[in-house]
Symmetry: C2
Subunit: 324 residues, 2 copies
């Protein structure tokens, strides 16, 4: 039986992907440092595929430990793909200390590639990010635009990972998919603007302080649409080695102001919303971007939910998750 | 007195840059691991600027050692710029073992940026590479083209370095210049196709074995033109933080076949040239590329020598260097 390795698979995106992969007749080996992920997030996949969902608690920036985990996976069958979803997801933390993204976002890529080289694993699916584009000033972002000047260490280490994967594809990988994620929402929420707002209102129910003036506008995708998109591209022919695709909604997104209003309406109606100044929430925050997804659409994919629908659904899901 | 730090300054490009920097009333602190560089390459600059050219033998992938070297430089005066010319320059070695480019090309960037953050050094000039473009199939390469899919770990780690510098410019650097080098020729030659050919003919004077079929065509720049270009951009206003410039000749380059013929004619007339097969010399070699340099020309710069002139001059210089 074939084996999928899912690096960072106990996190937000991973545990939404697992139940879909579990429908196939294969073993799933989840590798995660449980920094934000949790082993109980695997419960749904384990119920769907008894005996086929495995977990190793491992720091993937540790190359020797990563290789040992691959050895364990190889004992289950032939490892034919790696999903690399492991990364630091706290962008401001990475701006303050570059070591965070170096270790959790870049060295995880390095370790995984080294282990794939040793074990001759053919296919890699990588969670890249719109952050690799930096701030190109509102121009439509297609996959071939440049220059790529990320403004956060998170974006820098995602771009660095893309570059390393690309070189590996020339040398030993059979195929690699670089999925450039937008802002993704849904549950289990471990971070992000919606969870922040819900948590702030739990602490101080009468008001909500918003970083920046609320005009930051971004596209949001629901995690259910994201995993469907990745699985669609995964089935492509491998006549070209590296595929780069923006995954996102076709709309221009919603503002932070609108999200704040929706969260207040759902969680604490009547709470006062207080805005800061400036159109960036933090260093490394890209104030506005427009994502072009023609390439993804050519795969016959379109999201079921646009940005407003994705955010509205996620607000309700996260509010329930937090006990509202 | 201000201080320039020149990382990798005892190497090929560094020792061509130093005599020009030495004309300014400033200290020059060269940091180099002497992997390919040599301390005697600093002699010309030391003669031109007695007491102002300093050297520390240091591995810049070692963050603590890098910080100590910056402390030493700071004792001479205010460090106002860093030239980052340190890298592995053996592309095939880096393809075989990704650790080489990780350590010498990327972690050197990481260490230097960390030290610049601590010491609040405002300006960085970085030796990037045409290798970041990967193999885009003969299309003209301008600075805004994508996707950037390097095909060697060397190119990957140069792109990774660009990304990290870009994020640093958003956070603490005042300005950064990303110079995308073409193939650069001249002396002191430490590596490269011309030196390889000259050395092969010294060992076996009757023939010259060429990797690939000789049709690989590349643009070459003489190092004297390269350093002039970098100094031109260094003087720009800092109204935008990050400048990315291709530096290269405007022609489409010369073939490996032509270079082989010129080397044979200069060093061992009559030696038989034997070609291999394929249009790539090694994994990670980009067979042909066309470099667009409009942005550099807008700085009022044009190379004194095109590719044929640069290669011809370098062949003569390298032949002399090797005792012919």
């Amino acid at each position: 039986m074939n084996v999928s390795i899912i690096a960072g698979g106990a996190g937000f995106v991973g545990c939404n992907l697992l139940p879909l992969l579990a429908k196939e007749d294969r073993h799933l080996m989840v590798l995660d440092n449980l920094c934000r992920g949790r082993e109980e997030y695997l419960d749904a996949a384990r119920a769907a595929a008894p005996g086929r969902v495995h977990f190793i608690h491992v720091d993937l920036s540790d190359r020797a430990a990563t290789l040992l985990a691959f050895n364990a996976a190889q004992k289950l069958g032939t490892v034919d793909e790696v999903w690399h979803l492991a990364a630091n997801s706290d962008i401001p933390a990475g701006v303050l200390d570059a070591n965070v993204d170096l270790r959790d976002t870049f060295m995880t890529t390095f370790s995984l590639l080294e282990a794939m080289k040793v074990h001759q694993v053919p296919a890699l699916h990588f969670a890249s990010s719109s952050a690799i584009y930096g701030d190109l000033g509102g121009v439509g972002l297609h996959e071939s635009i440049g220059p790529l000047l990320p403004i956060s260490n998170y974006g820098a280490m995602k771009l660095a990972s893309e570059a390393l994967i690309s070189a590996a594809a020339e040398s030993y990988l059979v195929s690699a998919n670089l999925f450039r994620f937008p802002n993704v929402v849904g549950i289990p929420a471990t971070h992000g603007v919606i969870l922040d707002f819900v948590n702030k209102l739990a602490v101080a129910p009468d008001h909500l302080d918003v970083l920046g003036d609320g005009s930051q506008q971004k596209a949001y995708l629901h995690v259910s649409d994201l995993v469907a998109a990745m699985l669609r591209v995964r089935g492509r022919s491998t006549d070209h080695k590296v595929e780069v695709v923006n995954i996102g909604p076709t709309d221009e997104g919603v503002t932070v102001r609108w999200i704040a209003e929706q969260v207040v309406a759902r969680v604490k109606p009547g709470a006062e919303i207080r805005f800061g100044t400036g159109n960036k929430g933090w260093v490394g925050d890209v104030p506005k971007f427009k994502y072009l997804t023609d390439r993804m659409q050519a795969y016959g994919w379109a999201p079921a939910l646009g940005s407003p629908g994705a955010v509205a659904r996620a607000i309700d899901e996260i509010a329930r998750q937090q006990g509202h």
